[in-house]
């Protein structure tokens, strides 16, 4: 399965992924409506985007009492709007196989690849938050 691979060291924090995502998913250019979100690290000197990892357990899918979250043709957990009755879940569906975030990223910090999904940000975040933590101690 192809997944969104995040290369945090390449992210410049430009937020084009959030704009592209919100436009593709909702028709509005509004980062608040994006399902990929860029986080700042080290006082806004480095950044990394984070989105659904399309995990195997798929807690969202198993939790839905009416089966409104399913697996779409490209393997993403996807909300079926006409089966959704209430909580109006909204999540990354890999844009049906052409993820707008990856296309919009000018530095290839988000790529769409046939790899195992993984914790793409953990090591990066650990390194970039070391100074913040040192100050707490």
């Amino acid at each position: 399965m192809r997944v969104l691979k995040i290369h945090p060291e390449k992210c410049t924090g430009c937020l084009r992924c959030e704009l592209a995502c919100s436009y593709m998913q909702t028709g509005d250019y509004q980062p608040a409506k994006s399902v990929i979100r860029v986080s700042p690290f080290e006082g806004h000197t480095s950044y990394a985007p984070y989105t659904c990892t399309q995990c195997d357990e798929a807690w969202c899918m198993t939790a839905c009492p009416v089966g409104a979250i399913t697996i779409n043709a490209v393997g993403a957990k996807d909300v079926v709007d006409d089966r959704c009755v209430g909580c109006k879940a909204f999540k990354c569906n890999l844009c049906g196989g052409a993820p707008a975030c990856a296309e919009a990223c000018p530095t290839a910090a988000i790529t769409y690849e046939d790899v195992e999904t993984a914790d793409w940000l953990g090591d990066f975040a650990r390194e970039r938050t070391a100074r913040v933590l040192a100050e707490v101690r």
Binding site: Y50, A63, P65, G86, L121, G122, R128, V136
Partner: protein, 441 residues
């Protein structure tokens, strides 16, 4: 391997068990479902009450779907006895069903406050579809609804009542609202929020009786200040439906005591959902959770084990999430652990609140509330659940969170919680989409 499976109860636990049996079995077995009601989801009844969905949308499996799944149904009947030596279940119409293994998933029922008049006209419970129909038939724009009890169940329907144009008063005998879901500080913020949104809230108020008042209901309160209501909804707790098992060999404490495979004291009898007293993920002791996520996971574990797999359950996490008047309120795990180390932060004007609880450097419980429109509230709800569920070692992030209880995201990411959660699957394999299963054999 068991060839004849009996599912007693058509709620979340029972339906998940059926689906998982069909997903996991290597040879086609026979499945019989005994269910007093047509299977539906209690979780969506609030949307039925506010008329945003038709009644037909509450059902989780129609007769046609059950037939496609190869399930023999005993619908509209209740189990009355279980003979665990003969492996026979007796139903209320005298029918007997033989089984090789079975799951007790008979759920729970609403209980009313034990006061005179509690069973009178105009007094409702809101737990089953039938009870939801009863409330829906009576509620009108301008109706005065008095909700007795301010727990989770009550809160799931507050929005629906308000959206129907009814006036709402909540009375709660405990000194605060949501007494089994959030702490004092959180409850105070939620109460103020509700009052700002036009809901009258009276904690510490004891109801003594309900009388007729020219066709309306008069609620007599111990400390005075009687209320007159068009509709009374009793959300005063639930009890497990286990009376029918009296005299059987199945060991019952608060619920049916189950092991880490969800087997009862009788090895070919499982229990799942609200009736099961199974392992709690955080305390690792047995407890009755009676919440939807536990019923769903229980059902899947039982289904896999009934299908001949050997699946151990890690235990279930207490999860309470509700939204009232666009305020998200949630708690996870051991949120009321008096022996835990705690930190909290409040922004009363938003309002927003976080309470974090630790044992050692692991987050074992959390309370969060904040406006639904705040992206960081929604994100933090998910991340707090992940931190409590994974039990990752927070190390130096513990001190950071103690000083900055709102700064959850960097702690979640840098402690590699995602990496810890990714390999976690309940059944030891990727979940299947609802449409893909059960697979026809």
């Amino acid at each position: 391997m068991a060839r004849r499976h009996l599912i007693i109860g058509g709620g979340t636990a029972g339906m998940n068990a059926i689906r998982t049996i069909r997903e996991e079995e290597t040879e086609r077995s026979t499945i019989t479902l005994v269910s007093a009601e047509k299977p539906y989801s209690r979780m969506v009844l609030p949307y039925y009450l506010d008329r945003s969905i038709a009644e037909s949308h509450v059902f989780t499996a129609t007769a046609r779907v059950l037939a496609d799944w190869g399930v023999t149904t005993q619908m509209g009947k209740r189990a009355t006895a279980l003979d665990t030596k003969a492996n026979v279940c007796t139903l209320d119409d005298g029918t007997t069903v033989e089984y090789d293994d079975c799951v007790i998933a008979t759920g729970s029922s609403a209980v009313r406050a034990p006061v005179p008049g509690a069973d009178g006209p105009g007094v409702h419970s809101f737990w089953t579809l039938d009870q939801a129909r009863g409330v829906l038939a009576q509620i009108q724009p301008g109706s005065h609804v008095v909700m007795v009890g301010a727990g989770f169940i009550a809160f799931t329907i507050l929005n629906s009542i308000l959206s129907l144009g009814a006036k709402l008063t909540i009375v709660e005998v405990a000194p605060r609202i949501l007494p089994r879901m959030i702490d004092d500080a959180g409850a105070g913020l939620v109460q103020a929020w509700l009052e700002q949104n036009g809901v009258a809230v009276r904690p510490g108020a004891k109801l003594t009786r309900i009388d007729d008042a020219k066709g309306r209901r008069r609620l007599k309160m111990a400390a005075g200040g009687d209320l007159v209501a068009d509709i009374v909804i009793m959300a005063t707790g639930i009890r497990t439906n286990l009376d029918w098992l009296k005299g059987s060999d199945v060991k019952i404490n608060q619920g049916v005591v189950v092991d880490d495979h969800l087997r009862s004291s009788v090895p070919n009898v499982y229990a799942a959902g609200d009736v099961a007293e199974g392992r709690d993920l955080i305390s690792q002791t047995n407890a009755v959770h009676a919440i939807e996520p536990t019923a769903q996971e229980h059902g899947r574990i039982v289904g896999a084990n009934m299908a001949g797999k050997d699946v151990r359950y890690r235990g279930s996490l207490i999860i309470n999430i509700v939204e009232v008047c666009h305020l998200d309120v949630a708690s996870f795990g051991a949120w009321d652990d008096a022996k835990a180390e705690t930190a909290s932060g409040v922004k009363a004007d938003r309002p927003a609140y976080r309470k974090l609880l630790w044992r050692g450097d692991r987050l074992t419980g959390a309370i969060i509330l904040g406006p639904s429109s705040d992206i960081w509230t929604t994100n933090d709800v998910g991340m707090l659940k992940g931190l409590v569920q994974s039990g990752v070692s927070l190390g130096a992030w513990k001190a950071h969170l103690k000083k900055n209880p709102f700064d959850i995201k960097p702690a979640f990411i840098a402690t590699k919680t995602t990496g810890s959660l990714l390999p976690e699957t309940i059944l030891g394999r990727p979940s299947k989409a609802p449409g893909e299963s059960p697979v026809a054999v």
